[in-house]
């Protein structure tokens, strides 16, 4: 009977991890952090100060929902990168290695860094639950948008381009029309504590 033992171990891990998972709120200031990217280079978010916006994207290599947005993430980062917006990917999934992340990024033409969040420390701090899950900060590093990229995973019937709308608003110095959205995504695979 392997299941009960496995269940017990996982249950203890989740019970212990649960209090560590927080959530950042709209209007809250970014707490800068440093993490190594998929190439081993340390990225300090403090170095992005002065950018017109910072987009943090919790993403995955194996999640079909996150993967359905690969092209849209690459295109948005190119388009808005040219306007002074910094895009940063974060991979918090325990089972996705830096080698896999680097290969996936190259395959999909990602030009933004992808940070490996070992031990899902940042996912816990932000309260990120799924991939893809997006956080947009304004030039004062205040959280202005949290949620999905858009409202259609397939990309064929998008009616609400939420990330684009948020970035356009931040760049124009206006209020983000819809500051929080929800969508289906893959669970971030956390380590047990």
């Amino acid at each position: 009977m392997r299941l009960p033992r496995l269940a017990l171990v996982t249950s203890v891990g989740l019970a212990a991890a649960a209090p560590a998972i927080g959530a950042v709120a709209i209007g809250e200031k970014l707490r800068p952090f440093k993490l190594d990217d998929a190439t081993g280079k340390t990225v300090d978010l403090g170095g992005l100060q002065g950018r017109k916006a910072v987009v943090l994207m919790f993403i995955a290599t194996q999640c079909p929902v996150s993967n359905s947005y690969n092209e849209r993430m690459a295109a948005l980062s190119r388009e808005y990168g040219a306007k002074g917006v910094a895009f940063v990917g974060i991979n918090s999934n325990r089972q996705e290695s830096v080698e896999e992340i680097a290969g996936h990024a190259a395959e999909h033409g990602f030009t933004f860094p992808i940070l490996k969040d070992v031990g899902n420390v940042q996912a816990d701090h932000f309260g990120a639950q799924v991939t893809p899950e997006i956080y947009v900060y304004d030039p004062a590093w205040v959280l202005r948008y949290h949620g999905r990229i858009d409202d259609d995973r397939s990309g064929a019937n998008v009616k609400s381009r939420d990330l684009r709308n948020a970035l356009d608003a931040v760049l124009a110095g206006q209020a983000v029309p819809v500051a929080e959205t929800k969508a289906f995504g893959c669970t971030i695979k956390r380590v047990g504590r």
Binding site: L3, A7, T10, L14, P64, V130, A183, F184, T187, K189
Partner: protein, 153 residues
Amino acid sequence: MSAALLLAVVLAGPLDAAGIGRAVAAHRGRPVVLTLWATWCEPCVKEFPALAALARERKDVAFLSVSIDEPDDRKALEAFVAERRPPFPVYTRTPGPDQAFIDGVDREWSGVVPATLVYDREGRRVALLQGEHTRADIEKALARAKAERGAGS
């Protein structure tokens, strides 16, 4: 009966959020375990056997599941359900905006799957388990459903 017909009968629904609410309410008098999941969701697939085993044992509890797979994934869903033969109905989801569906099911649900909601005999939601959880977690929530009923009666 052809294989196509056999496959056709294993799925129920589709349900929108209001339909899910009605399906839960139809079991008033028994605790309900409602699971939302997808075939593309690895932890959902992983926890499926434990959920099925629990449902086979706990005849005093109504188990319902709703797949959020897209219509394009229906064949994969049918094959999965036909192979696993779970002891509870597997509903599909009415296509529509994700957020309205998520909030309609439960405002506190982030949209992460698997999500398991446990209701007491009066239909009050007593637990929302988001992400990977174990059979023991669901059993704890069911014990809470029973305890809360006792406290209220």
